[in-house]
Structure formats: C-alpha cells, structure tokens
Amino acid sequence: MNKQLLLGAEAIALGALDAGISGVYAYPGTPSTEITEYIQKNSAALEQPVRSAWSANEKTAYEAALGMSYAGKRSLVCMKHVGLNVAADAFINSAITGVNGGLVVAVADDPSMHSSQNEQDSRVYGKFAMLPVLEPSSQQDLYTATREAFDLSESVKLPVLLRLTTRLAHSRAGVEPTSARIQNPLNALYAPERFVLIPQNARRQYNVLLGMQEELEKLSEQSWLNRLITGTGSIGVIAFGIAFNYTMEVRQAFSLDFQVLQIGQYPLPRKQVESLFKKCETILVAEEGYPVYEELLRGYFGADNINGRMDGSLPRAGELNADIIAKGLGLKPKAVMPVPDIVVNRPPALCKGCGHRDLYDALTTVMSSFAEHHVFSDIGCYTLGALEPFNAIHTCVDMGASITMAKGAADAGLRPAVAVIGDSTFTHSGMTGLLDAINDRSPLTVIIADNDTTAMTGGQQSSATGSRLQDICRGLGVEEEHLRTIVPLKSHLEENMTVLREEISYEGVSVVIAQRECIETAARKKRNKTAST
C-alpha cells in the first residue's frame, strides 16, 4: 500500500481504523485531538460507520468505550494526559473488570507543557492500573503497535494504554498501512461476576489482575517494541519511547557504537534490562517524562552506575532532544550561534477581534470598582486573558475549577466571587459545580464565554452552546431573572457592564452567558461556504 504522510496522532487513528474499531470516544485536548479528528474525516470510517462524535468529557468517553467493548466491539478512547485524571476512576476500575472487545486508551502526554498545566507521565497510571503500556517511538511503529494493541487487549482481556508525547503526536512521517480488518460482530458479554464490582467480585477480579502480571511481563520480554541495539563499550543506554530516537541520532551523529536497549512495552522486561546491566558499567536511563523507571532501577538507596534525570545527567523536567542526550553521555556540545539580543518573546495572544477581548474589557472595568477583584477562570482560549494587557483572570487550575473555586471562595466570605468558563469547559465539568453552588445558595456569578465551539484545540463541536446552555442552567436551578445573556461587542460595552454589575451585586447564584461566535470558526465557515459555491 502507498505511504501516507501522517502525524503520529493520525498514525494511531489509522492503525485503530485498520484494526476494525467500531467507535472512537474522546474530548479534545492538545496533543491528542488529531487522533479523533482524523477518524471523523476519514471516508472509510464514515462508510462503515465508525462512531466518532466528541464526548462531553474524558470520563464519559472512557465509559462509553468500555461499554462498546462490553458489547464485543473494538473501541478506541483518546485524551491528553490530564484528561486521564478525569477518566481515572473508569480507567483504574476497567483493569479490574477487564474487557471483551479490544479497548485501547491512547493518551498523549505533554512534557515541557507546550499546551498544558503540568507534565504528568501517564506511564505512572499504567503501573497504577497494572495494565500493559505501549510506547512506540516512530509514526510507523505507532500505526503497527495500535493495530496490534487491539489483539493484545482481546488476548489478555485487559485495556491497553498507548502512551505518546507531544513531539511524536505532532510530527509527520511516511506511514505504510496494511489491509484493514473488519469490525467485530455484536457479542455482548453476560458476565456480572466480572462487571459488577461489589467487593466479593472485585476481590476475585483483582486477584485475576494480579495473577496476570507475570504473563504481561513475559509478553514484554517477547515484544518487538523492546529490543537491544548491539554495540560495544562500557556505557549502555536504556531508551524509553521517543528517547530512543534522540539516542540513536546521537549514536549516528557522533559515530558511536554504544549499546541501546529500546523500551516500547511495559511492564518493564526485567531480563533484558538485567542483561544490559551485566554488560555495561554505566547505564544512562533516558525517559521522556518522569524518571519513573530510573527511580525503580536505582532503588531506595541509589545506584552510582545509573545516570539519568535524578542525578542531573539529564534535566529533571522538560522534553528530551538529541542535544540533551549527547550532554548526558558526556559528549562535548557544538559551538553554536547565539540568539541575537534584539530578539523578543512573542507569546500567544487572543486573536484580533475575538469576543473574549470585549468580554474582558467590560469585566475588568466592572471589577476594578471592587476592593477585592478576583476572577476565577478555567481552561480554554479565554485563559489568555491572564496575560498582558488584560490581566483579567487570576486562576486556572483544571477543567471546571473556575465555578467550584469561586464557590469555595464565596463560602469563605469573598465578595464578589466571579467565575469565567467557556461553553465546552462548562459542559465538560462545570455543570456539576454549578449545581453545588445552587444547592448551597452561594453568592456567585458565573460567566459562560460561549463562542459556539471548542476553540483552543482548533474549533471542535462543543457539547452544548447557545440556548441549550440556558436550558441546562435553568434545569440546574438558576433563577430566570439571574440568567442573563450578553453579546460581547465593543458597541455593547456600556450595556454589558450594566448587566455584569447587576449580577455581580446579586447575593445568590447568577449566570451571564456571553454569546459570540469564535472569529476563527466564523472565518472558516465563510471560507468553506465560498469554496463550495
């Protein structure tokens, strides 16, 4: 078959399609978004069909994928690393129930935090859940490993975690696909002894999972994703995931011949690691992410023949590259040209003409009349309101935290307590927090910045926008007279400030929905319309 130029994320999507998935479930999140988008646009997937619309959040996505697996079909669920926190309850417990149809969880971590609030390492979750984890290092390997992950999942009857990081997710390479497998037939599993996790079942199922561990390690020992690149010398490298690429790059660039053990499947293949330790005096442990296995290999009392992130041979934080690995191996860095002094930073910013700008202009002016002017916010384009020249928001912690943190602050006595949250983030995990506030009659103003899309990740369909947001707020119990709608435009500034002032001064729960379509989405729609006429 012909080679296709695919992002790592897209290679996963194609691998899953060719493995015969019946559905993909996901909430958008950089760097994982393109997996689902590829499936949504793929003509073969549309024909099948493969179910692919966006879920409200990662937990609903995960549970739906587990349900599809229960029904006997193969399903893929995708998220960014912090999304796995949201889905963690379902994820950990699905290791106890096990699966029926193949279930693969593709999680894209973001070391160096290019578009994230932390750089947590999902391999820790893999260990925590005691599941097999795959971490291929190239786009082609991602394709092949994803295909095989479904077979693996069905043979061990467990979900399989497929971990990748930003750099591979967002890098293109030629990928050669193999012929597609057909979807599984409907074959729902009647197995309450596995799926009803009351303690007596859970204890038995947990023992099944514990009993599987030896088998999983054996599979790792045999996996093509774990292999030794033979060589000479007393230094060896254990290269995990994409660290393998950087290590091999250094080996090639410096014409060196050290041994490299590539790790792409977990649990760690103990025998292969042991054999490398026997052959080498010093081992560099190169992991893209946390020093998860370095810590394990060092043991509590340390080991002075191990170099890695924990002894400063490699930096403790951030993504790796060939220059970092070279330095870690004690190789002399090249003299390079410096960045000229005149070069300035160009941080990301809200687009010109974006409605969030007008919302913040109104809100900041209103808030400036209060002695305490804290604005609790959330994750989306509007988070850029934290930067100059706006300085309009003062918190951004996790999806949905704006409403609940404002509520807690209001409970503590802070007045006013204001939250700013986007339409998609509100449906992701803001609604339940609003219910808490209503039940508690917390004096709180929630501003839903409704731009009709999930904008930051590139304009995906939002779960509820416009009048549906109003209906949700009403349903949760927001009083009609304190459910207001404004249009964030310069020409409405005075009017919008009046509405905000009124609602912020109300001693109860009020919601102001600021409705204006994302200008990027609007422009794209216009372009597509012109192109199609």
């Binding site: 080679k3 130029l5 992002l7 950089t30 760097p31 978004t33 393109e34 290019h114 578009s115 750099r167 591979l168 967002h170 890098s171 293109r172 390479a173 030629g174 994409i242 393998f244 690429n245 950087y246 091999m248 790059e249 090639q252 660039a253 590259n321 060939a322 220059d323 070279a326 860095p333 090249k334 003299a335 390079v336 040209m337 410096p338 960045v339 000229p340 005149i342 070069v343 300035v344 930073n345 160009r346 941080p347 990301p348 910013a349 809200l350 687009c351 384009c381 988070t383 850029l384 930051m456 990740t457 590139g458 192109a531």
Partner: protein
C-alpha cells in the same frame, strides 16, 4: 541526500502549508521525511516553528539538533533570528523581510535586517510584494517556498506538482496563483545567488 530545515513564522502565517508541500514532494520522490508541527495554545499569534528533515537514509529524531540545520526558512524576518542556534556553519537564512508586528517591543526593522546581513549569504525576500504580483498577498508563503527551492534538493517539478495536489480542491485559479507565487520566489532567489 540529507537536509534539515527550520521553518519559522507566526501562528497563522502558513508555514505548515510550506511543510505540507515539501513533505508531499519528498514522499513522491521516495525520500524519508520527518516534520514537526506546533498545535494548540502556542499557535495563537505566537512564535511557531517546524523542524523538517528529509533524507535518503533512516531519520531517527523528529527534532533537529543545534548547529545542524542546513537552512532557516522564515516567513517573518524577526522570527528567522530566533532559531540561529540551530543553523550549521556555512548554512543560510532564507526569509521574508515583511515584519509581523503584534508585540509592543518589536525591534526596529533596520536592526533586524542588520542582524540578518551578519549571517552567511542570507536570501532576503520582499515576499508580500511578490505575492501581490502573483495575485494575492496570502500566497507569500509560496513565494518563500520558491525562494528556498534551489536549496532544498528536491526537483522543481516535484514541488510544483505537490502545490497542485494540495490546492486543487480550491480550483485551478488558486493553483495557478500559488504556482506563480512559487516561481516569483524562485526567480528572485536565483538572481540573488548569481549576484556577487
């Protein structure tokens, strides 16, 4: 054949389209390719770059190591300077001279040009002007691709056929306009190369 290119610009300026054309042409020429992209938060009006590597042998790293880029191809002059540590000795910058000013402390354009002229034989391109001559200022990324074409190591016909493939859904007028822009850049680059 082995070439490392740093593509630079500001989010929304179309460097990924340049990358897509080169990538497609490289694949059609049976070459190995790796090409990184920036998605998500940092692309909103921020500095963006793409590492593009083409070779006839295995490529391991998606990222280019410092001091090993054969070219910095930038659609914005200030952004070209940001990646100087990646440039190999004797390698060159090929950049548009049209500033994209969305920060208050943007340096003086004269200072930027002076820094660029300190590098090894830079190719400086009045991309917006040439793009307008081709029919639309939005084709300036294809002008820049044309300016880089003599140094990429892929046949012009392959690059032009990739432009055609990529833009054909938008109609033949758009294809022609982008080809015109590409050729204008290429012509300028060739003229500059023959000048002393």
């Amino acid at each position: 054949m082995h070439i490392n290119i740093i593509l630079a610009g500001v989010g929304g300026q179309g460097i990924l389209t340049i990358a897509a054309v080169i990538g497609r042409a490289a694949l059609q020429s049976n070459l190995i390719i790796r090409q990184t992209e920036v998605h998500g938060m940092s692309q909103r009006g921020g500095a963006v770059q793409s590492h593009l590597r083409i070779s006839n042998r295995a490529i391991y790293s998606d990222l280019i190591a410092e001091g090993t880029a054969h070219m910095i191809l930038s659609v914005e002059p200030h952004e070209a300077l940001r990646y100087l540590p990646f440039l190999a000795p004797e390698s060159r910058i090929i950049t548009s001279i049209d500033p994209f000013i969305n920060v208050e402390n943007y340096p003086e354009i004269e200072d930027i040009l002076a820094e660029l002229c300190r590098t090894n034989h830079p190719v400086l391109v009045n991309a917006a002007e040439l793009a307008r001559e081709a029919g639309n200022a939005r084709t300036s990324n294809m002008v820049m691709l044309g300016a880089a074409a003599p140094y990429i190591g892929i046949a012009t016909e392959q690059l032009e056929s990739a432009i055609e493939d990529l833009f054909q859904v938008k109609g033949s007028d758009i294809v022609d306009m982008n080809i015109r822009a590409f050729r204008k850049g290429q012509e300028l680059s060739q003229t500059q190369a023959t000048e002393p």
